[in-house]
Structures are given as structure tokens and as C-alpha cells.
Symmetry: C2
Subunit: 144 residues, 2 copies
């Protein structure tokens, strides 16, 4: 990253393959960013995760009741933002986005802890989740 | 994602901008994937996160003692893997990677809950963390 201290043995920092391929998409009643609560626990609805055919095998073993984390690509985010007033409230001092949950950040990946409510083929009902309809999902993991 | 059910009003699932730009890199005594414990809590060391100049302002507000999550790009992962024997133990049944913490997965993003130990300019001491030296970091968030 910095020239200083990076010896010739180091791996490149930005491999050419660092492109995300969505493994699915959120289908939600929330249609616009303004409709959405700021966090899933703040009154968000359940939604469907539609898994892409190429990734279907990766969901084997998921079960109703599992506590999982969806990683989304917040495709409407502004990647140039470095500091925000937390929760959009000007009374909160400007804070670096790494110390906040702002969707606007250099790599706008969202973390959404949710419960699996139902599984129907490649569709997984999850919630509560504040992600809007059409949000690409890039990974699913067990909760930490 | 699937043609079926995706109306013309829907946003494209794979926006052209879904390319990650590392915001920093891990500098660790762990040099190879085989050296590394499977999870940070299993005896991993502390390491340095070196933040790239373009992202430095985004770390304003981080403080010693903060509990944060580093998101890494697991650049040595195999993105074609869909099922694994959890923890590499053949006695564990083949399981879809979305139900496991396998680094091998379609989008190999790692989640690393760590504590901030020290901050020196654009270098942040964090731990414990099992990520190996040279691992690109793509985001930093408060713990969920």
C-alpha cells in the first residue's frame, strides 16, 4: 500500500480478481433508500434472498432458524465519502466512515445479521433486513 | 439474477462498479495460509493494519479499545468452491460454504472482529487476527 516498508517479496495489494460477483439479490417491499430504516433492528421487514443458480450448491446446510450474516453490495452508495455526521444528524460531529455504519464508504459492503425464516428452492426468507429491493448479495456467513 | 420474476423496473444485479479497492493491508507475522489458526480467537496474533493514504480520513474517530470488524479480501481463496468439509475434517459432512466460515467461497470476503490496540498515524494495531501478511483490507466497521 505504502511504498515505505513494502519489500519486493510482498504480494500485490490489489489483485485483479477483486471484483464481486453477486450470488443473489434482495427482493423486498422497501423500494427506495429513503424508505429504509437505518438498521435492521429498527423496524425493518423480512425479505427474500434469491440465490443465483451458480451459487445454489453453496446454500446446502442452511436451515430455518439459522442466524446468518448477509453481505450486500450497497449499489446506491457514494464511494467518495470519507466522513459523515452519524445517522445524518448534523448535531453529531463529522466522523470517519470506518467508525460508523454509513452506507457511503470506499467499499460499500453492508453487513446484515438476519434469521432464516423459510427456504423455498433457491429463495431464502430472511429478516429483519433494511436492504432495499434489488440490492445485490455477495456472501452469506454464519453469525460471528 | 434469475430472468423469471425480474421486471424491467429492476436495477441491474451486477453494477459495473462492484470492484473492491483495498483501503489498506495487513502486516502480520503470519506469512502463509498454513501458518494461520482458523479463527482469530484460536491463538492468532495481533497485526498492523496499514491504511492507504486515500482512505486515511475515513479512520478519524477510531480509538484505542474500539471493537471493530475488518473486512478483508481473502486473495488466496478458491472462488470455485461451493461445498466443504467444515474445518477441513473429512468426518464433517460436505456443507455449502454459505453455512460455514470457509475462506473458499464465491466472494472471499473475511470478517475479523478485533480490538484496536494502538494507532500510529495511518497504522492501526489490531488483534487477535488470523489474516496473513499482505491480506488486502476492504472495509472497517463498528462491531454489530
Amino acid at each position: 500500500m505504502t511504498k515505505k516498508g513494502a519489500g519486493s517479496r510482498k504480494k500485490p495489494v490489489a489483485p485483479a480478481s477483486a471484483r464481486l460477483r453477486p450470488i443473489g439479490v434482495i427482493r423486498s417491499a422497501l423500494k427506495a433508500r429513503g424508505d429504509s430504516p437505518r438498521q435492521g433492528a429498527e423496524g425493518a421487514p423480512d425479505a427474500w434472498l434469491e440465490i443465483a443458480p451458480f451459487a445454489a450448491q453453496a446454500m446446502e446446510g442452511l436451515a430455518i432458524g439459522d442466524e446468518i450474516i448477509l453481505l450486500t453490495w450497497l449499489h446506491q452508495a457514494n464511494r467518495r465519502v470519507r466522513r459523515v455526521h452519524p445517522r445524518g444528524d448534523l448535531r453529531n460531529p463529522l466522523t470517519g466512515v470506518f467508525a460508523t455504519r454509513s452506507p457511503d464508504r470506499p467499499n460499500p459492503i453492508g453487513l446484515h445479521p438476519v434469521t432464516v425464516r423459510a427456504i423455498e428452492g433457491r429463495r431464502v426468507r430472511v429478516g429483519p433486513i433494511e436492504a432495499i429491493d434489488g440490492t445485490p448479495v455477495v456472501d452469506v456467513k454464519p453469525q460471528i
